[in-house]
Every structure is written in structure tokens, then in C-alpha cells.
């Protein structure tokens, strides 16, 4: 006899393997409903990372744009496009994330900036924070770090 189809909003018994790890991940993905339409810019030189971060943000209803280098990120901001959130990697092609962050802050942009990068030590973290990111997050970007920030931006 075939098993019944699980609700699309619930994890099936089959999904809840290994101490419900997958179920917990899914719960976080439906945990919040944003009242406002937030916008985010994702700056990452790696396609997989950029796509994943944009998909995660879109799963919460955040409208996203992605660029693959620091120069294009600075140019986009300089053109007047505004974002509620900028997610930026440290090492980027053309113009690195540290310099791009400094230039964005020097333009008077005060939006939330998350430095999401592969961390190689405390010194890198401090350097990125000193450049102007508000939060340093080690890759990959995950709901546990992102959800509280989205709530804050949404005024929840």
C-alpha cells in the first residue's frame, strides 16, 4: 500500500531522519513572514555561493540582486540604487570586498552590511568589521544568522 502524500507544509516522517535535522532546517525557512518588501544586494565572485545566498533571501520574500565583483557593486550603489541589506564576500574579483565595503560606506550608505566569507582567522574578521560591515558571518549564510537580521530590518 502506497504511503499518503505528506502535506507540503510539513516534513514527512521520511524527512525526519537523523534527529530531525532536515525538519529543523525547514522550520527555519518558514519561521518568519516579512511585513515589508526588503531588498538585498549579494556580492560574491562565486556563482554557487551567490545563487545560494540569493535563493535563501528569496525564500523569505527578499527581493535580491547579485553582482560578481566589488567594482560592479560600488558602481551599482553609486548609481543610486538602494538596498536594505548588502551581503558581501571579502575576496572578490576586480575590487576586493574590503575596499568595496569602504567605498560604499564612504558614499554615506548606512544600510546593514553583512560580511559573509570564508574565515581564516580572527584578524580577517576584525579587518572586515573595520572596513565597515556590521556583521561578520562565516560561509555558508544560514537561516540561524539571517533570520534575526531580517526581523530587525523588518521592524519586528
Amino acid at each position: 500500500m502506497a504511503p499518503t502524500l505528506p502535506s507540503s507544509d510539513q516534513a514527512s516522517d521520511q524527512d525526519n531522519w537523523d534527529n530531525g535535522r532536515l525538519a529543523r532546517k525547514r522550520q527555519l525557512l518558514i519561521e518568519i513572514v516579512l511585513r515589508n518588501r526588503l531588498t538585498a544586494l549579494v556580492v560574491d565572485g562565486d556563482t554557487t555561493c551567490r545563487v545560494l545566498e540569493q535563493l535563501l533571501l528569496r525564500s523569505y520574500g527578499v527581493q535580491t540582486q547579485g553582482v560578481d565583483n566589488g567594482r560592479d557593486a560600488v558602481a551599482l550603489i553609486a548609481s543610486g540604487v538602494k538596498f536594505d541589506l548588502i551581503i558581501i564576500d571579502m575576496i572578490l574579483p576586480v575590487l576586493n570586498g574590503l575596499e568595496a565595503t569602504r567605498q560604499i560606506r564612504d558614499m554615506g550608505v548606512h544600510c546593514k552590511m553583512l560580511g559573509v566569507t570564508i574565515c581564516s582567522g580572527e584578524s580577517e574578521r576584525q579587518v572586515f568589521l573595520a572596513a565597515g560591515v556590521d556583521v561578520f558571518i562565516e560561509k555558508p549564510l544560514d537561516p540561524e544568522h539571517l533570520v534575526p537580521i531580517l526581523r530587525e530590518l523588518d521592524g519586528q
Partner: protein, 155 residues
């Protein structure tokens, strides 16, 4: 009623669990699976394809940088950064660990150690690629079977 071991979805679940047990995949792969409900059915397969194509390109660039008379450690570090990022995103645990070790050697400017550790990165990539290709194939079979996939939702 317990699922049959010949059930394709159960086989896929079991395979992913085994990959976790062997340390080839980690929780970050689970995060992808959790995301896929929001996306098209082939999202995971497309992402896997994206990752493997990019990873092969990074590995080719690192190979070239290591082969130079004056090893280009700066390029190695830069490409390794991107490779580590995408590997962590896809949940390739063992490959990520191998990349971390190579990064240390590159930071030290130690060519011999880089050569040795880069071999391990490539081995782990081949293992991860085979794993992801198997997952892609199993998911494609489930999706193309259509009716059976609606009865027991695949990972």
C-alpha cells in the same frame, strides 16, 4: 507501512544518509534540500551542475598556478577562497577540510606541501562529484517517474 528498499526515494534518502555518515556531505547539504521546496523540482540538480562546473574551473586554475616556475600563490589563495566557499555551500565536508589544509600550505608559500595537499583536494572533489552525480541521477529518475514521486516526496 515501512517503505520498500527498492523504493527510489527511500534509496535516495539512504544514500544521502550514508554520505553524511562517511563525512562526504554535511548539514549544509541539508540546507539545500530544505530550500528546494521553494524552487523548481530540478533546482538541486542545476545547483550541483553549477558547483561541479565551477569547481573544475577553479581546480584547473590552481593546477596552472602551481605549475609555474614561480608559483602564483596569490592566485591559488584567491581561487581556493572561491572553491572553499562553493564547497561549503554545497555541503562537501571532506573536500572543504582538504581545501582548508591546502590554504595553510599556500599561505606558507610551501610548494611541496601544496602539491601534496592539492592531490587530496582533487581526490575529495572526485569523491564528492561522484556522490553528487549519483544524487542528481537518482533525483532525475524520481522526477521523471512523476506519479511515484508525488506519492512519497523526494529529498
Amino acid at each position: 507501512m515501512a517503505a520498500s528498499s527498492t523504493d527510489p526515494t527511500q534509496q535516495l534518502n539512504d544514500y544521502i544518509r550514508t554520505m553524511h555518515d562517511q563525512g562526504i556531505l554535511d548539514d549544509n547539504f541539508d540546507q539545500l534540500l530544505a530550500l528546494r521546496r521553494e524552487q523548481n523540482p530540478r533546482f538541486i540538480n542545476e545547483l550541483i551542475s553549477m558547483f561541479t562546473n565551477d569547481a573544475e574551473a577553479y581546480i584547473a586554475e590552481i593546477t596552472n598556478a602551481l605549475s609555474l616556475t614561480e608559483v602564483d600563490f596569490s592566485t591559488i589563495i584567491s581561487k581556493l577562497h572561491q572553491l572553499k566557499g562553493s564547497t561549503s555551500g554545497i555541503g562537501g565536508h571532506r573536500m572543504y577540510q582538504a581545501c582548508c589544509e591546502l590554504r595553510v600550505a599556500a599561505d606558507d608559500g610551501d610548494k611541496d606541501r601544496c602539491d601534496e595537499l592539492f592531490l587530496r583536494v582533487k581526490e575529495e572533489f572526485n569523491t564528492l562529484k561522484q556522490c553528487l552525480d549519483s544524487i542528481s541521477q537518482m533525483r532525475s529518475n524520481i522526477i521523471s517517474n512523476g506519479t511515484r514521486s508525488r506519492r512519497r516526496r523526494p529529498l
